[in-house]
């Protein structure tokens, strides 16, 4: 697994800012070279006149997808070191519709408008001012639309949603993209006298190379979506266990038990299991919050007190912690070994412990048992 800024929790440090700046420069340079500093060229796709947006975007998506899929298949990339956005169906569908409308009206989108501004296009500047305003409006109306806007369906990959293997989906995606390239060139040729690359040796070779590279994924990517899911949890769990050593983001079961017994009010203990499980049994003083509602529910405790997340194991709390940290929480910890570990070390009667216990430990266990019963 490679060490990314996200993986090491240092995405908002000066060195990561510098890396982001450099990546941004490459991003802006590519966009401008593609001709995306022109709103007319960008809008062209909606009138089937200039299909450059589709060609550039799909090429970039396919190239990056192939790269990431190989990196995932070879174990360089997991959900631990790369941030994958969660899916929220309705906000993303409605957001897409509105965004598309804004895109065609203005001829710009945020990234290309920054490039348009660099090319001294006044309409790009006006778009950017509008987009800043649109974001401010969103902030104002957020309390009203929050129930709708904050739904979260978790991390969903399209190949899992469609019950396909990752390699098969990636290859299908590549073939569709190549089909779009040929279709775009054909449309341009007939509508605007463009499409100069239709049927050229370049486009033929380019198409074949992409498809062959996508076929190679069958060699490295997990073969069925089900094994993929299982592998993921294993990889994650293993990596988290490795991280226990540095322990920065963990709280041990003993420490938690002690602090709760002492009546430490700064601890916000959060159980992220389903409500049915929570109702059956939970750690005294804990509150039950669904994964999807953590962000909003915990907002009042951002950087106030100590938030401790637990579930049965450690994978889910660690994922939840990652997404909280990404939005700026600095006071989130996960319970080492989860609820299972807590029961094992703190609630099991001293007499049932396999390992020899000191007198002090025996007294602690009996105090914990009394408190948490």
């Amino acid at each position: 697994m490679i060490n990314t800024f996200f993986g090491s929790g240092s995405l908002n440090t000066p060195i990561a800012f510098l890396a982001s700046l450099i990546i941004g420069i490459a991003f802006g340079f590519s966009l401008e070279q593609a001709g995306f500093g022109s709103s007319r060229r960008l809008a062209g796709i909606f009138y089937f006149k200039d299909m450059a947006v589709l060609k550039v975007m799909f090429t970039a998506v396919v190239v990056a997808m192939l790269g990431i899929s190989y990196a995932k298949g070879l174990g360089f990339v997991t959900t631990d070191n790369v941030f994958f956005m969660h899916t929220s169906y309705l906000p993303q569908i409605l957001g897409g519709l509105l965004f598309g409308a804004g895109f065609v009206m203005s001829g710009w989108c945020p990234g290309t408008a920054a490039v348009g501004l660099a090319s001294v296009k006044v309409d790009a500047l006006v778009f950017l001012l509008g987009a800043i305003g649109g974001s401010m409006i969103y902030n104002e109306v957020f309390p009203l639309i929050k129930p709708f806007a904050s739904v979260d369906h978790g991390l969903l990959f399209a190949y899992d949603s469609m019950k396909m293997s990752e390699a098969a989906f990636a290859m299908l995606f590549t073939i569709i993209a190549v089909g779009c390239f040929w279709g775009s060139e054909y449309i341009e040729k007939n509508r605007s006298g463009g499409g100069k690359l239709f049927g050229t040796r370049f486009l033929k070779i380019f198409s074949v190379v992409l498809i062959v590279v996508s076929f190679g994924l069958f060699a490295v990517a997990p073969q069925s979506s089900q094994t993929d899911v299982v592998d993921y949890s294993k990889i994650s769990e293993g990596a988290f266990l490795d991280n226990i050593e540095d322990g920065m983001d963990h709280m041990s079961t003993e420490e938690l038990a002690d602090r709760l017994v002492e009546g430490d009010k700064s601890i916000i203990l959060v159980d992220i299991r389903p409500p049915q499980e929570f109702d059956k049994f939970n750690i005294k003083t804990s509150v039950n919050i669904k994964m999807s509602e953590l962000q909003t529910a915990l907002l009042p405790y951002k950087d106030q007190g100590t938030i401790v997340l637990y579930s049965n194991g450690m994978t889910h709390p660690a994922q939840a912690r990652d997404s909280l940290v990404r939005t700026g929480f600095k006071n989130v910890y996960i319970l080492t070994d989860g609820l299972n570990g807590f029961v094992e070390t703190c609630l099991k009667p001293a007499s049932l412990h396999q390992e020899p216990l000191t007198q002090e430990m025996k007294e602690k266990i009996s105090a914990w048992r009394k408190f948490f019963r």
Partner: protein, 171 residues
């Protein structure tokens, strides 16, 4: 008002490969994809913080970004996009003060379209948690269900409205 010496655009597939490699580098180095609308929204949050600090910090959305919203990696990326675009536009002789529009469209009308489109896009990108960069490009490349839906519905929304705003490009 285009400069006669401007270089032709790059072959779109080659430009796409460059963009794809940039995106891949972003995932492998930063551990996150590209983004543009977040940087814009944070400028909005910054303005709010300067104008009305205590009110902004009490807002649930902007408030969660803290009192220094510009200290965020995607803000630096957005600045990079501007300078990358500037380097490329200067290199290819494409810097020219202009309002891009069809010959029959007035400047005011074109700018009104740009402004209203900007407001819509700014709002929508917050709702969808990303724009063409963060969702359609970065999310689609890692095959996220929601991002691919965003991509499809962006085009759907665009084509649905295209006919009504076509005149701004008429020559």
């Amino acid at each position: 008002m285009l400069n006669d010496n401007q270089k032709p655009y790059m072959n779109p597939y080659i430009a796409g490969v460059f963009l794809g490699i940039t995106l891949l580098a972003s995932y492998l180095v930063l551990g996150a994809g590209l983004g543009a609308s977040s940087g814009i929204a944070r400028v909005g949050a910054y303005i709010d913080v300067v104008v009305a600090p205590s009110r902004t910090m009490a807002c649930e959305y902007f408030g969660s970004w803290g009192s220094q919203p510009l200290k965020y990696y995607l803000v630096f990326m957005l600045v990079g996009v501007f300078f990358g675009g500037l380097i490329s536009a200067l290199y290819s002789n494409r810097c020219a003060l202009s309002v891009e529009r069809g010959l029959k469209c007035t400047i005011i009308k074109r700018l009104m379209f740009a402004l209203s489109g900007g407001i819509l896009a700014g709002f929508a990108s917050r709702l969808a948690k990303g724009c063409t960069s963060g969702q359609a490009l970065s999310g689609s490349a890692v095959l996220l269900t929601g991002s691919l839906l965003f991509l499809v519905f962006t085009f759907a929304g665009g084509y649905a409205v295209a006919w009504f705003v076509r005149r701004q490009w008429n020559d």
